[in-house]
């Protein structure tokens, strides 16, 4: 492809191109703390035009595998110990930095997870999309720009036609990811590496992105390596699924067979431990259940009768009336929560669903008075919520707690677990002596599945799931009645998610807790909730029992939310 030959925009590809085969790849990370073997002998092949899903939880080595293809791993600490990555018959691992650059973005492109940080905020989007064409000398700048606009139109970024000088910050997350796709596909590569491209997006946006990806790739004949932690999502797109676990491929098969007849216990667990909309389980099976081969005897798989827990309507614990939260922005006031009234019965869970920007998080925080409400009133235990005096503030703070989405950010990195958990008890004068409090802290840790030996450690020494358990323990340390769970499992792998959800459920049972469960994931919300409220643009769209909302959604928006959930997660009714 020579610079300045626009007459042949689609030059025919040389034969035998586009076959990727990873052979016995081994990658390890060498740090001061020791050597970590991230990938241990992977075999993976992608035929031209094929879409392969690479699934695994965080730390399974899926991203490392994906990044090693284009030599994008940071070396050091990473090192490829063994293996080959054969692309069109040549080993990409042998390429020098300058020669691999000719492959990157031209023959093999990549899309990353976070569309917010992948585009340069100082350059117009069109220029960035056109850049690969210019760098690889396929077109001259003017033609490349025209081609970029054309490509952006194709992926649905209509804005560039009207405003060719649009910058990334003027785009929503979904639009940015579309632009990333356009940038990746504009050189008509033979292979696209997509590393969790929709994880940071809402379900409805995710559904649209997947559609675009599928259509464009089949149009252009691009083969795709789709990396994700979500098996259900991969099933939507991929012809073939490869499942990784602890650096190894545990199973690979075509998509239908893997769902119909999974062989490896880990794959069985992955399929089973995700809450689906159709099963109503009391407790989710976890990976441990499957790996120990004792799943059959567990009683938790019994189906729960819809709302058998509540024969009589419960007394309301929390009532919010006509709540309004208004923020001032450059374009005038914005109502994040717009005249919302909700009530939550004692000992029940209210699920709150909506896309990002729907105001669900703001509503949760307004109920706890972490965000100042513009108007409206909140009744908690029939007491009007007013934090005017320190005494009343302490009363409400003690009885209402919150668990956040990101367990990494929600623990003070400079405090040990002991300090983190003792502090709330000290502030609220729970327990009479330090000894008594310490005893309570240890009990709490055991209740959430950790132990005394964790007391002296700092948050960074724990995994995400363990940290979230610590956050749960901290929320429980004031012995609250009501807990807001704000997307508290959204950042987790399905297997960890199942454990945390089970923990929350059993705590509710033993302590009679009331939850407001906020999530964008309908399956998770349905598993947790007795009632569900759907929010859109700061308003409540629909409220009803969990079963009703799913079986008989009343509004278009709710229907759309349900339909956006990847099919496999909706319909797989895996029995074991």
């Amino acid at each position: 492809m020579v610079y300045g030959m626009p007459s042949t925009p689609n030059p025919p590809r040389i034969d035998l191109m586009g076959h990727l085969s990873i052979k016995n790849l081994e990658v390890s990370f060498h740090t001061r703390e020791g050597t970590i073997r991230a990938v241990e002998g992977i075999e993976l092949a992608i035929e031209p035009g094929e879409i392969v899903g690479l699934v695994g939880e965080s730390g399974s080595g899926k991203s490392v595998t994906c990044n090693s293809i284009l030599q994008l791993l940071p070396t050091p600490p990473a090192r490829v110990d063994n293996g080959k990555v054969e692309w069109s018959g040549k080993d990409l691992l042998d390429y020098s930095e300058s020669s691999i650059r000719k492959i990157r973005g031209k023959e093999i492109s990549m899309i990353f997870q976070d569309p917010m940080s992948c585009l340069n905020p100082y350059l117009p989007v069109v220029d960035q999309v056109a850049e690969p064409l210019i760098i690889h000398k396929i077109y001259n700048p003017a033609e490349a720009k025209a081609k970029a606009v054309e490509m952006l139109m194709k992926v649905g970024v209509k804005r560039v036609k009207e405003f060719p000088l649009s910058y990334p910050h003027e785009f929503s997350g979904g639009m940015r990811q579309r632009a990333m796709i356009a940038m990746a596909l504009i050189t008509e590569p033979a292979l696209l590496l997509a590393d969790e491209p929709t994880t940071a997006l809402d379900v409805t946006v995710q559904a649209k992105i997947l559609t675009i990806l599928r259509e464009l790739c089949s149009d252009l004949g691009v083969s795709v390596l789709f990396v994700s932690h979500d098996l259900g999502l991969v099933a939507e797109l991929a012809d073939r699924v490869v499942v990784m676990y602890r650096g190894k491929v545990v199973e690979q098969n075509d998509t239908a067979s893997i769902f119909k007849n999974p062989q490896h216990p880990y794959v069985k667990a992955l399929i089973a431990c995700r809450p689906t909309l159709e099963n109503t389980l009391w407790r989710l099976p976890t990976v441990e259940d499957f790996m120990s081969h004792s799943a059959e005897q567990k009683p938790h798989t019994q189906k729960k009768g819809a709302h058998s827990r509540f024969l009589h309507p419960r007394k309301n614990l929390l009532v919010g009336k006509d709540l309004v939260v208004q923020f001032t922005s450059e374009n005038g006031p914005v109502r994040a929560v717009d005249n919302v009234s909700i009530s939550i019965g004692q000992g029940t869970t209210l699920g709150l669903v909506g896309e990002s920007g729907s105001g669900k998080t703001t509503l949760g925080r307004a109920l706890l008075n972490l965000v100042t409400r513009t108007s409206g009133e909140i009744l908690f235990q029939d007491r009007l919520m007013d934090l005017g005096t320190r005494k009343s503030e302490m009363y409400f703070r003690k009885s209402m707690q919150i668990i956040f989405q990101d367990p990494y950010a929600s623990l003070n990195p400079r405090l040990t677990i002991e300090q983190t958990l003792l502090e709330p008890m000290m502030v609220h004068q729970i327990g009479n002596s330090k000894k008594e409090r310490l005893k309570k802290v240890i009990d709490l840790l055991e209740e959430v599945g950790l132990g005394e030996e964790h007391l002296a450690r700092y948050p960074h020494e724990f995994s995400g799931g363990q940290r979230q358990r610590i956050c749960v323990a901290r929320a429980l340390s004031t012995e609250p009645e009501f807990i807001v769970c704000d997307e508290c499992v959204s950042a987790m792998d399905v297997s960890v998610q199942a454990q945390v959800l089970n923990l929350l459920k059993s705590l509710q049972d033993s302590r009679g807790l009331t939850y407001l469960f906020i999530s964008h994931d309908l399956g998770v919300v349905k598993f947790m909730s007795d009632e569900i409220t759907v929010m859109q643009n700061g308003k409540i769209v629909e409220t009803g029992s969990a079963e009703c909302i799913y079986n008989d959604p009343q509004t278009e928006y709710t229907k759309q939310l349900i339909n956006s959930i990847p099919l496999a997660n909706r319909s797989v009714n895996f029995s074991f």
């Binding site: 001061r32 703390e33 925080r365 706890l368 972490l370 320190r390 503030e393 302490m394 703070r397 003690k398 209402m400 707690q401 919150i402 956040f404 989405q405 990101d406 950010a409 929600s410 623990l411 003070n412 990195p413 400079r414 405090l415 040990t416 300090q419 003792l422 502090e423 709330p424 000290m426 502030v427 609220h428 330090k434 002296a456 700092y458 960074h460 956050c471 901290r474 004031t478």
Partner: protein
């Protein structure tokens, strides 16, 4: 409470002890302190005693560091100057640290209109020419050694306040701060127990940069006749004199200069060590 805070302190001390450069710096600093403290007494000459028969003597038996253009003993002058420089450097830094961190943290934490006003006040103070500010103080309160600390500290805290404020603004959005609010912690508890320890890294780094800046400022003031007056000495003023006579008597520059450099090196390594030691994320032995 005391026992809790001591555990972070103990951990930090253990980590610091494992850091060889930091420990070496501590010993070096202690040594410099000690020499500055007792040096003037050890020397058989006083810092101001002139001996016009023995001017520009190179370092030797009688005068360990040699003599200057008026025959004064450089060893006595350097160690005596060390007292003043170290006192000015450390005290003024401490003053700027306390004022700057408190002010910046409050401004960032309160946010909104309060923050805007507090920062505009900083801007106004920034725009005051430093020299004029000091002269004004001197005129008002007379020439006073303590005033020097105050004046330098009062200028240096502005940058510290800005740095602390920016960090606080970032940090207060963290979910653990919100969790602290949800748990009903008081503002002072959130500020001093949850925000401050997480700000320590940039604060220490900036403090180690402030000490040399302050020592040099002192030299400038002395040159203008506002600070330390001859025959009294400080490292800054000695280096200044030494630099003028570098060709004839290099030892006039070499000795105070070495002390000054060693102190700064040691402070920097100690600062780095402290920052790492106070961060639980750095590897634990």
């Amino acid at each position: 409470m005391t026992q809790q805070s001591s555990s972070l302190g103990r951990d930090a001390w253990l980590r610091l002890r494992a850091n060889r450069m930091a420990m070496l710096s501590i010993y070096l600093l202690l040594g410099i302190f000690l020499i500055s403290l007792v040096g003037p007494w050890l020397s058989s000459y006083s810092y101001e005693q002139q001996d016009l028969d023995h001017i520009f003597q190179s370092p030797g038996k009688n005068h360990l560091f040699g003599t200057d253009n008026l025959g004064r003993d450089v060893f006595a002058r350097t160690t005596y100057g060390g007292r003043i420089s170290l006192a000015v450097g450390l005290l003024a830094t401490l003053v700027s640290l306390v004022i700057g961190v408190t002010y910046g943290m409050l401004s960032g934490y309160l946010g909104g209109r309060m923050d805007a006003w507090m920062m505009r006040a900083v801007d106004v103070l920034y725009s005051l020419p430093f020299i004029i500010f000091v002269i004004l103080l001197m005129v008002l309160f007379g020439r006073n050694f303590l005033l020097l600390f105050l004046a330098i500290g009062a200028v240096e805290w502005l940058t510290m306040a800005r740095i602390t404020r920016a960090q606080t603004l970032n940090l207060k959005k963290a979910e653990f701060v919100e969790a602290a609010r949800a748990l009903g912690y008081s503002h002072s508890r959130i500020l001093f127990r949850h925000l401050l320890p997480n700000l320590i890294g940039p604060i220490i780094i900036y403090a180690t940069l402030t000490v040399p800046a302050v020592m040099l400022l002192e030299a400038v003031l002395s040159f203008l006749g506002l600070g330390v007056q001859a025959p009294m000495s400080s490292w800054g003023s000695l280096i200044k004199e030494g630099a003028e006579k570098m060709d004839a008597a290099p030892w006039l520059l070499f000795f105070p200069g070495s002390f000054f450099c060693l102190t700064l090196f040691a402070l920097n390594f100690l600062g780095d060590g402290l920052r790492d030691a106070l961060d639980p994320k750095s590897s634990k032995d």
